[in-house]
Symmetry: C2
Subunit: 426 residues, 2 copies
């Protein structure tokens, strides 16, 4: 018995299965809806969000009070908070998605075979997406908007700390969409906060085509272990900067500052700096001065600490982790090969950069580092759908299947083959 | 204790982990190997297979004898058998893959952003592929050749009935490859037939990027339930032909014969024919005559049996299954909408065809049937990498993520972003 919302396990199972069935039926309709119609739904949703801002803020206040009682940190509470400005930003986010090109129906290739059949490869929606996320309530709107624009039905499951906000937002956009003709299975929100709801969702492979988990490492691990549905992970970003023997040191310093300090809590921020030993004596003092100014703490291996005795002693385990704050690991390496080996071992396949003037060294790095995005003389902070010109992103995939790196509207599509014949047989 | 090959569970675990590590290291090398070099390995493998045919046949004889003892059917034994002709065909298969364009390194897109960074999206190998398959030993060579050409390391796990053949083939191609400089982790074969080996493999998400299971429904289900690695399923093909009210009936008959009878044991063969009620009285007698000649048995619903009283009574469960033989389900439908609803409910998302002269009806079918390949006036038997012009295929995906439908060399690749800057920060 799941007492929380007075549902038995069997009732929860059948309630979530009903959502799956509804989503699957909705998805078949959505795949054939015009761009104009989808944009009308998005416009109605944006307006409804602004119109109902008082109600959304009221719901959010309940979450804020619960969060304060539970002792959430000030940073967490800030992420959770909705105000008029943030509500306007959510609505504007939907209006921005309206302006993006519809990814559905694009002819990806076309070929006529010797027997006369014509094969068109055409982009189509993925179908039903299960989106599992934590904390910020604006993600509810962003994910719904992007999934819908790409013709997908979406089942949303937010974190318990934002449950009142998310329920209010979901109800608001669902009503606005349905009032303008959207099928009811197009956007659904799971109102039950119990973990059992997620476990049920992750087994519904006959209705759901893709699970996108966005959140902490534990959440993602749990999803991958339980899911029988394909998952595209939005995992951690253990991003590296390698400062080569032939680096422009002023450029390296700028990019290091930007990567570590501009917004340390995001996944494309730097977690480790690797310095070639031939420039260590010159570069590490420059870096120390800059880090002192910015309040950054270095965790160095023994070699590093020969150049920087004030650095903390590095713990190997930390090399696998995101600090997400003003700490950074520092290591001295002998060569680009050693840097690449380090990155492929400790990294998370997200974003890594080399600073060098030597093209051959750079090409080796770009070829051998097995990450979604590899940079030569630029900051890892650019790994982002907006910065890449995708218009918006639903997240950054650390997987290699289907979508790698920033995941925009195109990556929310699959394809199908449409074959035109005149009676051909084999 | 896994007595079969005298390994304890812990030994098996560490042996398979060692294979994973080796594959991951091999994959990083393979991603940067030239087309010429990969083709040299394939050529050496092809020659070695032919040179060692006597040894391969000797190993195969052991499998054939075990198979006969275990009571495998004549059809199964035929699939298992190797002879000079089939060995030559395996070698020629590798030589054919040599002629196909290398999918790695293709520039998929390129953009220069306002801040001056240039972003190249380039195809790269997926990395390490775990390929799990049943029965025919030639699959060992085909899968290794395709994975290698696309720059992937592959860990092969074949069925126990072909274990001697597969081990001999794998040893032969591995030696030939390594003699010509291939990294040893590039191609590996799991020599242990215990299920525990697969269970271990499916959890090695830190080394393996993709699992491709090819085989029966039970195998695939078990893989999906256990795997923490992304899986691309090569599931069943429950393919439909819908004969519309405005169909050319002679064409419909030809395509029905081809789809059901030419090779009933394959996944793109037809399993169900849906007939519009307005033509049933005319078409079903034509169909009966043809099926009588071809030895096909129809399982009809009550409406169908009004037109064809000799048809067997349909069992609903069968509508979900592949017959893979000369049986077919028959149903009368009122409209294209009902046909589409039937297909989306009972089908497996593989291949479905409509026969009609009405373009609007056809476009509705092509748009609303949620399958990898949808046909208008052509046989479902064309869903095949070769027929699609891909040169070769590793199988036919029934998933919607990454690869859908025939999966060739391009679909064995991922991509990465290579970003070129001159010191840009955000």
């Amino acid at each position: 018995m799941n007492m929380e919302q007075n549902l038995t396990d069997a009732e929860l199972q059948s309630a979530i299965e009903a959502m799956g069935r509804k989503a699957r039926n909705g998805a078949i309709q959505l795949a054939n809806v015009s761009t104009e119609t989808k944009n009308q739904w998005l416009a109605a949703m944006a307006d409804a969000i602004e119109r109902n801002s008082a109600e959304l803020i009221r719901a959010n206040t309940a979450d804020m009070e619960n969060g304060a009682k539970k002792g959430l940190s000030a940073a967490m509470l800030d992420r959770l908070k909705l105000d008029e400005g943030r509500i306007k930003a959510m609505a504007d986010g939907l209006r921005h998605v309206m302006t993006l090109p519809d990814p559905v129906g694009e002819k990806l290739s076309e070929t006529t075979r010797p027997n006369g059949i014509r094969i068109e490869k055409v982009s189509v929606p993925i179908g039903v997406i299960g989106f599992i996320y934590e904390s910020r309530p604006n993600v509810t709107v962003d994910a719904a908007g992007l999934c819908l624009k790409a013709g997908n039905a979406v089942i949303l499951r937010g974190g318990s700390e934002a449950i009142h906000s998310n329920k209010a937002i979901a109800a608001c956009i669902l009503k606005a969409g349905m009032d303008t003709g959207m099928p009811e299975g197009a956007v659904q929100f799971i109102p039950w906060t119990t973990h059992a709801a997620v476990s049920i969702l992750l087994k519904m492979d006959s209705y759901i085509n893709l699970i996108i988990p966005r959140g902490g490492e534990r959440l993602i691990r749990a999803v991958v272990e339980q899911s029988t549905i394909p998952v595209i992970k939005h995992y951690k970003g253990v991003c590296h900067l390698y400062v080569d023997a032939e680096a422009d040191l002023a450029m390296a310093l700028d990019i290091l500052r930007n990567g570590k300090c501009q917004r340390p809590g995001v996944c494309n921020a730097l977690e480790t700096v690797l310095v070639n030993e031939t420039i260590a004596a010159k570069f590490i003092p420059m870096l120390k001065e800059m880090f002192a100014k910015e309040g950054v703490t270095v965790h160095g291996d023994p070699l590093w600490r020969q150049y920087d005795p004030e650095a903390l002693e590095a713990v190997e385990e930390e090399l696998y982790n995101e600090y997400l704050n003003l700490n950074i690991s520092g290591r001295i390496v002998k060569s680009v090969e050693e840097a690449v080996t380090h990155i492929n071992h400790y990294g998370s396949g997200h974003s890594d950069s080399i600073i060098t003037a030597n093209e051959k060294t750079a090409q080796y790095f770009l070829g051998y580092v097995d990450s979604s995005t590899v940079y030569w003389n630029a900051s890892t902070r650019f790994t982002d759908g907006g910065e890449f010109g995708m218009g918006a992103e639903i997240g950054i995939s650390t997987d290699k299947l289907h979508a790698r790196g920033p995941m925009g509207l195109k990556e929310l599509c699959s394809y199908k083959y449409r074959v035109y014949g005149s009676g051909q047989i084999r």
